[in-house]
Symmetry: D2
Subunit: 296 residues, 4 copies
């Protein structure tokens, strides 16, 4: 199973009563399926998974599964703070048709999250999961780091086939590639550094930005793979301002606002998240303007 290419970590629509809105989800997902994306991730960080309960999570997986054809990847985020909850979530996602699960590190008890603790946690999940496991490090949100030394140990597990590294630290991405065997798939999570991540050996990306400009992100991937480095560098540079607005500074509310501006009705963020203020809408509009694809 390969995860080369660009995957969109899609947001979860909520309605005005703060409930999961499966109808809206189907509509927007159908539109993404007309783009060249290699696949989607549901219930990732951008899916506001930590704000939802288990029943809601299941509804999202079930609703989305039908819309994603078998020739695209369908990945489900199933990270939980406790090992037993992470095991159960992986099993349920597999039962509902996930191709793979993306398992964010637990991170609440920061000083206790040692390499040994991570290895035990992920081994338990990978042993139990009926589908392949992707590790997932997102230090900026979790405050912990799944270091190359831990990943090297976990990469030998037959059911752990890759990793998403959300940080923009290219040396870290390079280390992960070096520390793991040929075939272990490192996926970049930071759109602003997607091109250099590909330079040092990442095989693809799970990029919030690709929800908004799936074609440009896919093109960047294709240029880099074709060895057209000057063109790739130029396109990366064009994408940086939008990537920063969506991925980092304004988070899920920024992503949802950008999608609204280009006609994807993904509802409002769930509280405590607040919609972005009007000033950010203006910034987003400006940053979106250079991308023709978004006006279709």
């Amino acid at each position: 199973m390969t995860f080369a290419g660009v995957f969109a970590p899609i947001p979860t629509p909520f309605d005005a009563q703060d409930n999961v809105d499966a109808d809206r989800l189907r509509v927007v997902l159908a539109r993404w399926m007309k783009s060249p994306l290699a696949g989607v991730v549901v219930l990732g960080s951008n899916g506001e998974a930590v704000l939802m309960d288990e029943a809601e999570s299941d509804r999202v997986v079930v609703a989305a599964r039908d819309l994603v054809p078998r020739n695209r990847g369908f990945i489900v985020g199933t990270g939980r703070e406790s090992t037993q909850a992470a095991v159960r979530a992986a099993r349920r996602a597999a039962g509902h048709g996930a191709d793979a699960v993306l398992v964010r590190t637990p991170g609440f008890f920061k000083t206790q999250m040692t390499t040994d603790a991570f290895v035990r946690h992920y081994t338990a999940v990978a042993d139990a999961s009926p589908v392949p496991v992707l590790l997932y490090n997102f230090t900026a949100l979790t405050g912990v780091t799944l270091a190359p030394a831990a990943v090297a140990r976990l990469a030998t597990h037959p059911n752990i086939i890759g990793m998403k590294e959300s940080g923009g630290d290219i040396a870290q991405v390079a280390d992960l590639v070096s520390a793991t065997p040929e075939g272990f798939q490192v996926l970049a999570g930071s759109a602003a550094t997607f091109y250099p991540a590909l330079c040092v050996g990442a095989v693809g990306g799970i990029l919030a930005l690709s929800c908004v400009v799936p074609e440009a992100c896919t093109q960047l991937f294709n240029l880099a793979r074709a060895g057209r480095h000057d063109d790739a560098r130029a396109l990366q540079r064009r994408l940086v301002p939008l990537a920063r607005l969506i991925g980092n500074t304004h988070g899920v509310p920024g992503l949802k606002a950008a999608l609204h501006l280009i006609g994807y009705d993904v509802g409002v963020p769930r509280p405590p998240l607040m919609p972005v203020p009007d000033s950010v809408l203006s910034l987003l509009r400006e940053a979106l303007a250079p991308f023709e694809e978004v006006s279709r």
Copy 2:
């Protein structure tokens, strides 16, 4: 309702099958109720609340409620990442007999956790909660800070009566006291700086250390309140080494290990948390030795 004095944020016992063990909980709680503690907190950070589901949380509250007499405080931790889940948890805790709820800041989406977002979140919880609300800031674990400016706004809500500040930054504690009206109760969460926190206006503490040496912690509180500052300073100094081992470096596993050493059977930590290694047991044994009360 006053929270002056020392409260113990007690751990949750799990059995060998990784289930909540209500019987063990009753036994250890009965022992704490023989100490001079002003009350207890269940389902706080030290209660491993983030590793438990809602049904398990309810079982802990129900089991503990019976053991805590009405003349001691019974506080339940009900922080959740989503506002709607936090509202529901506060209502359920009140329904099961909590005197007050202790509501940790949501913290997953760090850059979005602005003062406005916190004010909206806590106002919704305080509006809905049948019992008084204590705010709860724990930057080292959450990565976000409920700043004095936000607390100043929230302190005017009639159902928000105080706050636990877990950080050891005494200037921050002093600022919280200054920023809030007379009667708003600031509680310290860091045992290693409990005495200077009392100096600058904290009215009490919720201290992991007080699970282990409830008498010494209570005595420190009483000395400071009586104006016996030299004695208070000396006792604080004696407590620091143990406070560091339990509260910071070794977290919940360190607390559970220390309790085992003095005869409280609180089971093992829930995975991904791991029991402390033998080397830490030795350090704990050494740090406990000077405290007579633990040998009873």
Copy 3:
């Protein structure tokens, strides 16, 4: 030799041609000598010592020495990045009449500044210095920390008699007091936490704020020493807003601006430091207003 009490780390006046202005220095120093200050520090961080060469430094010491009577402390900052330069600076300061030297940690090569490196550095300086040495930790400016373990080793040197800790971390101050023998003098450098530092055992302070309000700072010290903790706490609270403006946020330019507002002509900061903008002058004026002594 005792350093109990409040010392002012005075700024160095520069004239419009960016030269040291010894005349202005004499005028302002004479005014400080009418206050109840226990003494002064020249060539500290607030003296812009790192922006001056050795000849300029000597001129400041010589000019100031005459104005400080023998019953007040006259401390000279002599920290340098290299050990040999620090040794020479201490000798020269002693030759020009310093009562003690205050030696900031070297900090350029951060990862190499281990406990062993600090012990070797300070031992060389203390061996060579004709006058007693005060250690000086200022992590916010240097990026390194002279930890309690290093201080404990150095405190046994007969020519190292105390330390200035500039950080506001009260637990750190308490640890320094605990780690060193009776008689080793810990001085606080953070005015916003001066009172709690005294609570945990500091014997005095070297406070930028005391250049501006020497009487209030001295009064705070006297209240704490007399056991009048409620009054001390109240005065500390009054001082915090001014302390923050001067000590932290606006640094030397803020200090010089505040002094100008109350009639001390200390000239402009040396470039690259820039004078504070008018908006900060307004904030300073407002924060100074409640202190009567400044209007004399």
Copy 4:
């Protein structure tokens, strides 16, 4: 004047009496001049410039100038904390034959080092310097950042022709390239991320690692420029372990120790720097082994 290619920031030899050793400097420099290096930097961070006085600095420049032929670049580090000292140092270095000066940001008064302060500082230096100026950002040592916004303003000065960015943050390097006009030369300072820095538009590097393996570093540069990205990535990966040992973890003492192991007699570090312990020597020996060039 172009700085494309690889420059070695060479260390300064000190003798057993802790004095600058110009004879040793000449010997080692002659050897470097047999390598394919594009040039050298003297009195950079690796030259321990902050541990030397002005007279010593001049001796190093004079001694080195003669050994560097006119077809290689000869850059002198002239950063100082005060603007007036930085101006004088640039003039003196030019007078002694520097091709360009490399001017590290002042960084002692961290919160005051705003974009405006940096622009004023560097403009004064560039106005006064008889030779071109290279900006120099090294956040890990200085604690301040010369941000792309400041660099964009300074890049319009006719005497400011480029910049060294020592951080390994590739997004930052890319931003600097984007923010500055065609022809402004961004040089990488982090050997562990040299290849991705070239990918995003750096034109060369000033790399401590290139003191030790000048041929491998130059080859990496040539491979990237030739578009041989797979080979470049592979060579980068081989260089990372050695780059980490020398550049980051063990600093100047690590660099001097590595050079000793391969026959460059560069003396000991100046105190407070300490020689590396034997355990580090073993690590260095191991990391050097795969590089044939070092055994010549």
